[in-house]
Amino acid sequence: MSPARRFLRTPEAVAGAILLAALIAMALVALLFPGDPQAIAGPALLPPFQDWSLPLGTDRLGRDVLAELFHGARASLAVGLAAAAAALAIGSVVGTLAGFAGGLVDEVLMRITDAFQTVPSFLLALAFVSVVGPSLGVVVIAIALGTWPGPARIARAEVLSIRERDYVASARAIGMHPLEIAFREVLPNALPPVLAMSSVIVAAAILTEAALSFLGLGDPNRVTWGGMIAEGRAVLRTAPFLSIVPGIALVLTVLGVYLAGEGIVETTAVRRGLS
């Protein structure tokens, strides 16, 4: 059975994929929403399902909640994917260099990794954004800074076992440069267990971004779900939907990313086990 078929036969994976597809669709549709989601679209604090031109109602300033939700999907997805990609890239490069070089290089790189891992990653992100200033790029870097040690450790452990294999010895024997051996022979083969972490990292990155926005450290020029929840907090008793709607979106997104990621890891793992 092909991995795609196996993926489709796993109900959790399919559910995750549907949620993820919905999120991506939302992010893409957000491009079609005319104008600015931060523009005032109607009366303030209109509850959902009252006016069908504003199906999810409006917030304190009369902004369209549905438009905000769709634009927020874009920010969540972009930050989640970019931060996870950056963390995986930094982590696997650092882990590969440490594991392959050994000795002093390994010691230095792993002590730096320890230093980053002992600082709570959310506090690190918080401190970084407070100092550098909130913008989408800074948020991505801030989240990646706290996340890369995990992939780095896994990559290093994998590299330590791979570097003893015969094909690495034969690459040395034909005179290949050590850096080429590290990045062309060793790194690609060390990646599968690192990539298996990616769903967890993307989910965590989306949540961290939401938490930063909730604390008012998100990009002020963009609508984010965390920011929407923070906005709704002030009127939590009179208009709870303002916090609940983006909250549900956040839960479903994280769930979708996690389930789809697990599904991919599971199906590819089975394929490797069979061959």
Binding site: D166, Y167, S170, A173, I174, G175, H177, N189, S275
Partner: protein
């Protein structure tokens, strides 16, 4: 002048606080176009010597002279360049290749690294190498895991001869192959030796194969040389205890000596 002269080579391992001497004061030499076999039981230091000679690991003491130069003194780019003259074929032909590689990439690497052929010329060189080891040139785009064990070992030999080496270390290179394929690979190696005058350091625990292909043999026991000399003479009438034990342990060989008597 010998092609390779190894003197007083020693390598220790530290395992759990204890020091194990894997290779203990071993000296030998190999002449151009000659096959020297290293034989001995598991753990006798055969593979450690192979890796020392290739500078995949460093010795604790001793000297290695290769093509008249102090091989242990070479560093960095000079060492990498000299590696072209000294190649290796491993026991497990699957483990010896990157699992993601194709046949073409495996053979492309040495040609590229040692600047033997230009990018445009390389596909033709790869096809020639494949033909040289008895494989079809259209095998080039195939993945390593798609081809058979015998074909893989031929690709490993093609990779080893790509840089025109003067010495190839064969670490149990035919041990993992089935009997009929083993014969073909041995014939290919002997044929290459005759035509290109390549010397072999032939590492094996199979005295039958050693007797058939090696000029001289060194029997190792616990990292030391127990006995050495002309391959046939040593194997037909071993003097050392380990030599007698190894010959007695080779069932095929015993039968042939009984048949002869």
């Amino acid at each position: 002048m010998s092609l390779l002269a190894v003197s007083n080579l020693t390598r220790r391992y530290r395992r759990g606080g204890k020091t194990v001497v894997a290779v203990d004061d071993v000296s030998f030499h190999i002449e151009p176009g000659e096959t020297l076999a290293l034989a001995g039981p598991s753990g006798s230091g055969k593979s450690t010597i192979a890796r020392l000679v290739l500078r995949l690991i460093e010795p604790d003491a001793g000297a290695i002279e290769f093509e008249g130069d102090d091989f242990l003194a070479l560093r960095g780019a000079t060492l990498r360049a000299r590696r072209a003259r000294l190649q290796m074929v491993f026991q497990d032909p699957l483990a010896a290749f990157n699992p993601r590689a194709t046949v073409a990439r495996v053979l492309d690497d040495p040609l590229r690294i040692h600047d033997i052929a230009s990018r445009t010329e390389r596909p033709r060189r790869i096809a020639a190498l494949l033909e040289r080891v008895g494989l079809a040139a259209d095998l080039a785009p195939r993945a390593i895991h798609e081809i058979s064990g015998g074909q893989r070992q031929r690709v490993a030999i093609a990779r080893a001869i790509a840089t025109s080496p003067s010495l190839i270390v064969l670490d149990e290179a035919v041990s993992a192959l089935d009997v009929s394929v083993r014969r073909q690979i041995l014939d290919l190696l002997l044929d290459l030796q005759r035509q290109e005058r390549i010397a072999y350091l032939f590492i094996s625990h199979d005295l039958g194969v050693v007797r058939a292909v090696a000029h001289r043999v060194i029997l190792l026991d616990a990292g030391r040389i127990a006995e050495s000399g002309d391959a046939r003479a040593v194997i037909d009438a071993p003097q050392s205890t380990i030599g007698k034990a190894l010959v007695a342990a080779a069932p095929r060989l015993k039968r042939t000596t009984q048949d002869a008597s």
